[in-house]
């Protein structure tokens, strides 16, 4: 597990450097993600120790945003004031997003690709 974690941290570091010097509008970890994706595609397999780290992170990804999300207590008055706007925007947006994505898939259809 440790070699995998070290490698992931190194890719994160590489991403941060590229973000700082070349692509300041893209967060460093996302650049690290893309670099690592390229590396995996080139090697054509995922090292076991890296898979272990990644599976642990994906299973409990939610834990990592608890500290930031708890900051919602600072926004409560603002959210209460605009409660309807927030609820309707989130509800409307997620339904529309699912519907549009689904309709595009339906009309660009499975027919053409040998399904």
């Amino acid at each position: 597990m440790i070699p995998g974690l070290v490698q992931i941290l190194l890719w994160q570091g590489a991403g941060e450097i590229v973000s700082h010097f070349v692509l300041p509008h893209i967060p460093g970890p996302v650049i690290g993600l893309v670099l690592l994706l390229g590396f995996l595609a080139a090697r054509d397999h995922v090292p076991d120790s890296m898979a272990l780290v990644s599976d642990a992170f994906s299973q409990h990804l939610g834990l990592l945003f608890v500290p930031a999300a708890t900051g919602v207590i600072l926004f409560l008055p603002q959210l209460r004031q605009h409660a309807w706007a927030v609820i309707l925007a989130l509800l409307g947006s997620v339904v529309l997003t699912i519907a549009v994505t689904a309709l595009v898939l339906r009309f660009t259809g499975p027919g053409g690709d040998g399904e």
Binding site: P27, L40, P67, T70, A85, A89, S93, V94, I98
Partner: protein, 243 residues
């Protein structure tokens, strides 16, 4: 030291170290996760929502300011970046699913991503939400760790973004079935992909519990939406009227 510490002194010591914040965060999440598993992964019993509620109540009871809590909990928060990098592995595993379907999937992803931004921003603005709320709507359909990074760079609140992302995930996981049934979409990979685009991680775990193929495609959609969102949202930002 032999002399017994009065309780206040222990308290002063504990609340000054990151330990208390870490214990609070992890215990709250552990309780949330246990309830989630006991509910057979019901999306309404979301472990993050439960954990946030528990931590918030504890901070209120302990009279601990949020800034002080975050000072300690930032060690957990820091790992978001590392977790984001490690998303490369599930994306890489899902890439084989793109074969022969690159065009419809990418088109659906772009259409869905644009819909998620403009519908949320539009509706929130229409009902008079202020700029902080409208701005945090922009990246809420992207997986939370990436959405927060994007929001931060654009000067929107990462906190509100994370909260909107979690709520979006819960709503998507619950409502997807009805929307997809209503549209008569029956093919599993298409259903999964639509959930993943709209409702990222929470939608994806819902998709996995319904059908493995739906889960695989939801996971692919969530990963691709993460990358696309991080690259495209900052470029689009000038055209998104957040007022």
């Amino acid at each position: 030291m032999n002399n017994r510490l009065p309780i206040q002194e222990i308290w002063v010591y504990l609340s000054g170290s990151p330990l208390l914040a870490l214990i609070l965060t992890l215990t709250a999440y552990q309780i949330g996760y246990a309830l989630y598993m006991r509910s057979q992964r019901n999306p309404l019993v979301n472990p993050v929502a439960i954990a946030v509620l528990l931590v918030a109540v504890c901070l209120e009871l302990l009279d601990m300011p949020y800034a002080k809590y975050f000072e300690g909990a930032q060690f957990v928060h820091f790992l978001l970046g590392t977790a984001t990098v490690s998303l490369a592995i599930p994306i890489y595993r899902g890439l084989s699913g793109l074969k022969g379907r690159v065009f419809p999937l990418l088109l659906a992803l772009v259409a869905g991503g644009l819909t998620s931004i403009f519908s949320a921003v539009g509706i929130a603005h229409w009902f008079g939400a202020d700029q902080a709320i409208v701005g945090a709507m922009v990246s809420k359909s992207v997986t939370a760790p990436i959405a927060m990074g994007v929001a931060e760079r654009l000067g929107y609140s990462p906190t509100l973004t994370a909260v909107f992302a979690v709520v979006t995930g819960i709503l998507g996981a619950i409502l997807a079935r009805f929307v997809l049934d209503g549209l008569g979409l029956k093919i599993w990979w298409q259903r999964g992909f639509a959930i993943g685009v709209a409702a990222h991680g929470i939608g994806t775990s819902r998709a996995f519990s319904v059908h493995p193929e739906a889960g695989t495609y939801a996971s692919l959609a969530m990963g691709l939406h993460g990358i696309l969102g991080a690259v495209a949202i900052p470029m689009l930002a000038g055209y998104i009227p957040t007022f």
